[in-house]
């Protein structure tokens, strides 16, 4: 690992004896999951619990003329059939806009459609029964009379005057537009030796969490309190939104989030069917469970990407990139998603394009349009794969145009590692990045020159392999700049409370959540290290609004950087409090004492003075023996939010090595490399696995995944046999290495790592495919790179 800066303070809390920071330790509590004894929402059963299924529109756009549920209501096991009109009395509609995304508009969305459906899969009625099968039986008997309306499906024509306006009250189908200009792009292009342009096309993807979205809502009429068990990334956000729309106080809503079967951004939104489930529980005064089945997941889990982005780059013969320009278009479905909005991805594309490079000449337009397809919103690495694919695709095209090696053009244009702090032409502030150190490390790791030699030799034998490189920047640790400033009640700060129990163990409550990334582990590692307590003694509680401090949760690579810092600061206070008590008990000076390995020890010689178990015994059971005036506080709470930088940018570079069968268009991934700089690494194994998992999601996007709609707005591959996710057989081994540039905004220095893999993988693959196809003169700027796409580009079909 390369460290670009000296550690902040060699005697910092991170460097204590027996520190877990920077060490690979197995995640606590894994045995629960390994033995099939986790507690996912889909496993949950409550007394009198009913099951809801949603009758969903078969049309992309239609008027609901009439709904007749008379037969369904009399079916065995049926408790109730509820329409949108009936549910409206319990829950209010919402509009997914944020004030800092100027001009963003959307229409009111209801928990269940009233009068009109706007995408295939929108719920038109809820059928509540004693079990799911009975509810599905009854669903078949609900008669809905639709009048089909013209569907707006093609984003390219959504703004045409001849295209119907989905929400007439909004005036047009334009949800959001952002125009940005920096430097002098026209001048820069005119001074270039070459200007290269391409249309980049990105398929619609979705998250395909293995556990579908699941919620159990339990309204206790006597307590006037709603408990929501939900696999969510942001429990406090769910609490706030549910309360708001059900006319309750936050205190009347508790959100519990136990084990979650995958999220990736899919479970950070508020879905209409989830809102309906909360409302149904209140209406029917009993627990109601909703678990999306796989078909519903495809039709209603948010989709993402689906951009068409025209890109231009100017380059001089010496390799200097003079300017970037993009014109991005994306279709988001009929509503801007709530509460994060569906303008963020396009906005992010504008923010990130050209980000790794020096040039300050940059012009961008992004348009976000409505269409009658499933809603789109934030999914892992929001906007990053698009920005990275466009930028890195353009850089490779520029390099090819002037006959320069793709590595060399990057060397000449990446922002120098000693040029920070600085800002991108889109206004992004960079504290410290390490593009050159990362690239150097990558080339060494992949043996770049040897690989080029091998590639050339194989080409002579009609074997076509390609090398693709993609540098990237990654948004992590978002401050309030992401959502809060726009009026969303989405917390950007996190809180951690740590306390010592009566046997000297530690209980730690944190507002970040766990979906498998290792939030529990990193929290325990930090708390254990700072306190001098072994990890087995640290129990982490998360995912419960009744029992954790208020905070944002886990999304946008914020858990370690923000929640981790809060844990560090809380543990520091607790440590200080413990040492104060110990000093009183031992008639010593706090400065002369430390905590190491579960004992209070002498700072000078490390001799143990008192076990924490004994200290806790005295504090809790024999406070009478403490000196007068001592009131031990063996609990401490701290919150943290980044303030100086809106985002802690990280950076990295990826490389792909693959083979294209030019007869069949099939791509075989041979190897993938990543160098990433996420600042302080708390647990190397967890970071590497975040990156590998992220890469594979990016590889899925690059080669396989696409939600395919027909011209009537029907999603025609809404099942796992036809929507192709990456499986083990096709995925390569992925080598990961690091450069470490800690952020100085926190004592911990950690930045995020969750988006990195996904950010650059597709760009690396696309560049590698184009590299492989160079002898054929074919260039492809579309993903997924299916055999059909490749054979077409090769002119074989």
């Amino acid at each position: 690992m390369t460290v670009t800066r000296a550690a902040v303070d060699p005697l910092s809390v991170l460097d204590r004896p027996n520190s877990y920071i920077g060490k690979t330790v197995p995640r606590p509590n894994l045995d629960r999951l390994l033995q099939g004894r986790g507690q996912y929402v889909s496993d949950l059963e409550l007394p009198r619990m009913a099951h809801v299924v949603f009758l969903r529109s078969p049309y992309a756009h239609a008027k609901i003329v009439a709904i007749n549920a008379d037969i369904a209501k009399r079916m065995p096991g049926v408790i109730s059939v509820v329409t949108g009109r009936e549910l409206e009395a319990v829950i209010t509609p919402w509009v997914g806009v944020l004030s800092h995304l100027k001009g963003l508009k959307s229409a009111p969305q209801y928990a269940i459609a009233i009068d009109r459906v706007c995408w295939q899969g929108e719920a038109v009625a809820a059928i509540v029964a004693t079990n799911r099968a009975a509810a599905e039986d009854a669903m078949e008997k609900v008669a809905v009379d639709y009048e089909e309306l013209e569907a707006v499906t093609d984003m390219r024509t959504a703004l045409d005057p001849s295209t119907p306006v989905i929400h007439p009250s909004l005036g047009d189908n334009l949800a959001f537009e952002r125009i940005h200009s920096a430097g002098d792009v026209d001048h820069a292009f005119s001074e270039s030796d070459a200007v290269v342009e391409a249309d980049f096309v990105f398929g619609r993807h979705t998250g395909v969490t293995l556990e579908p979205r699941a919620v159990v809502a339990d309204w206790n009429a006597a307590e006037a309190r709603l408990t929501i068990y939900q696999g969510t990334q942001a429990p406090h956000m769910v609490q706030n939104i549910a309360a708001l729309h059900l006319g309750l106080k936050d205190a009347q809503v508790r959100v519990v989030c136990n084990d979650v079967g995958g999220s990736f951004g899919i479970k950070v939104h508020i879905y209409a069917d989830e809102m309906a489930t909360y409302a149904l529980s209140k209406l029917l005064r009993r627990p109601v469970k909703f678990v999306a089945d796989r078909i519903e997941s495809f039709n209603t889990d948010i989709h993402a990407r689906d951009h068409r982005c025209k890109g231009r780059v100017g380059v001089r013969q010496d390799g200097t990139i003079t300017a970037f320009e993009i014109d991005d278009l994306t279709g988001i479905g009929p509503y801007s998603m709530y509460p994060r909005t569906s303008a963020i991805e396009a906005n992010q594309v504008v923010n990130l394009v050209g980000g790794p490079y020096i040039t300050q000449n940059y012009r961008a337009r992004a348009r976000v349009v409505f269409q009658n397809k499933n809603v789109m919103c934030q999914y892992r690495a929001v906007g990053h794969p698009i920005a990275c694919s466009v930028t890195e695709g353009l850089v490779d095209l520029a390099a090819a145009k002037i006959g320069m090696d793709p590595v060399e053009i990057r060397r000449r244009n990446l922002i120098a590692d000693n040029a920070y702090p600085c800002a991108s032409p889109s206004g992004m502030k960079f504290e410290q990045l390490s593009h050159h150190a990362s690239l150097a490390k990558l080339l060494q790791m992949m043996r770049y020159d040897a690989l080029r030699t091998e590639q050339a030799a194989l080409r002579k034998r009609n074997i076509h392999r390609g090398i693709g490189i993609a540098s990237f920047i990654e948004v992590t640790n978002p401050s309030a700049a992401f959502y809060g400033v726009g009026g969303a009640k989405i917390s950007s700060q996190d809180g951690v409370a740590v306390r010592m129990d009566a046997q000297g163990s530690v209980i730690c409550q944190t507002s970040i959540t766990e979906q498998g990334q290792g939030s529990e582990s990193l929290t325990a590692q930090i708390v254990g290290s700072v306190l001098g307590v072994s990890m087995e003694r640290v129990r982490v509680i998360l995912g419960d609004t009744d029992n954790t401090p208020y905070g944002g949760g886990t999304w946008a690579s914020r858990g370690a950087g923000i929640g981790g810092e809060a844990a560090l600061q809380a543990a520091k206070i607790l440590r200080s409090n413990i040492v104060d008590v110990a000093a009183a008990i031992l008639q010593s000076n706090p400065a002369a004492l430390d905590i190491v390995d579960n004992h209070v020890v002498n700072t000078s010689d490390g001799v143990p003075r008192i076990e924490l178990n004994e200290l806790a015994r005295i504090v809790y059971f024999r406070p009478d023996t403490l000196p007068p005036g001592i009131q031990p506080e063996l609990m401490a709470t701290r919150h943290f939010v980044p303030r100086q930088y809106p985002f802690a940018f990280t950076n990295g570079v990826q490389a792909s090595w693959l083979e294209v069968d030019t007869d069949t268009g099939f791509v075989k991934l041979l190897k993938h490399w990543v160098v990433e700089d996420c600042g302080t690494i708390i647990n190397p194994q967890l970071v590497d696995e975040q990156i590998r998992g992220g890469v594979v999601q990016g590889l899925g996007a690059a080669l396989f995944e696409k939600c395919i709609y027909d011209e009537r707005g029907q999603l025609i591959n809404a099942n796992m046999a036809d929507y192709l996710v990456p499986m083990s057989g096709e995925m390569p081994d992925i080598e990961v290495a690091h450069v470490v540039s800690p952020t100085l905004e926190s004592e911990l220095g950690a930045k995020g790592a969750g988006e990195a893999g996904t950010a650059g993988a597709a760009a690396a693959v696309a560049n590698a495919v184009n590299d492989a196809l160079r002898p054929f003169g074919a260039t492809i700027t579309e993903i997924p790179l299916t055999p059909q796409v490749i054979l077409t580009a090769l002119g074989r079909i």
Partner: protein, 161 residues
């Protein structure tokens, strides 16, 4: 005729007698009737592998078998394989290698991996990837899983020599 029918089988070695609707699949029977929720349901159309269990020693998709088809069979789930200690080393290797994140695919993945290790003593990485190719994991990128299975195969081979 769609009336419930009796079924008797062994589940993790314990005799089970139940009256079930014919349409009830084995995954739902294990989860809903027996509360063995370690068998996960991911797609209900046989693609994701999360519901993999063993019937008479062979791995199967429990969403693609009716509970009534398991009449007279011996069914083993992740809970049974955990309690018997049969896959303790494999589970330890998964823990050590962080070969799981959300854990939802893990029971099916472990049972499928154990199936490979039973039939093949020294599978290479390609064979491991091939055998696991019907088990979807969205979190890990698979490499850690392949590593853990490979390490377990090696350790078992060393122990048996």
């Amino acid at each position: 005729m769609t009336a419930p029918v009796p079924v008797s089988l062994l589940v993790n070695g314990d005799p089970v007698e139940a009256i079930v609707l014919p349409r009830l699949n084995l995954a739902d029977f294990l989860r809903d009737n027996l509360k063995l929720t370690g068998t996960h349901v991911g797609c209900e159309h046989g693609v994701c592998g999360a519901c993999t269990v063993r019937v008479n020693g062979e791995i199967v998709r429990s969403c693609l078998i009716l509970a009534v088809q398991a009449q007279g069979s011996s069914v083993e789930t992740i809970e049974g394989l955990s309690d018997s200690g049969e896959i303790a080393d494999l589970q330890a290797a998964f823990r050590e290698r962080n070969a799981l994140q959300c854990g939802y695919c893990t029971p099916g993945m472990l049972i499928t991996a154990q199936d490979l290790l039973k039939h093949t003593s020294a599978p290479d990485r390609g064979a491991i990837r091939d055998h696991l190719s019907g088990n979807y994991c969205r979190c890990t990128g698979y490499q850690a899983i392949v590593d853990a299975v490979e390490a377990t195969a090696r350790a078992r081979a060393e122990r048996s020599t």
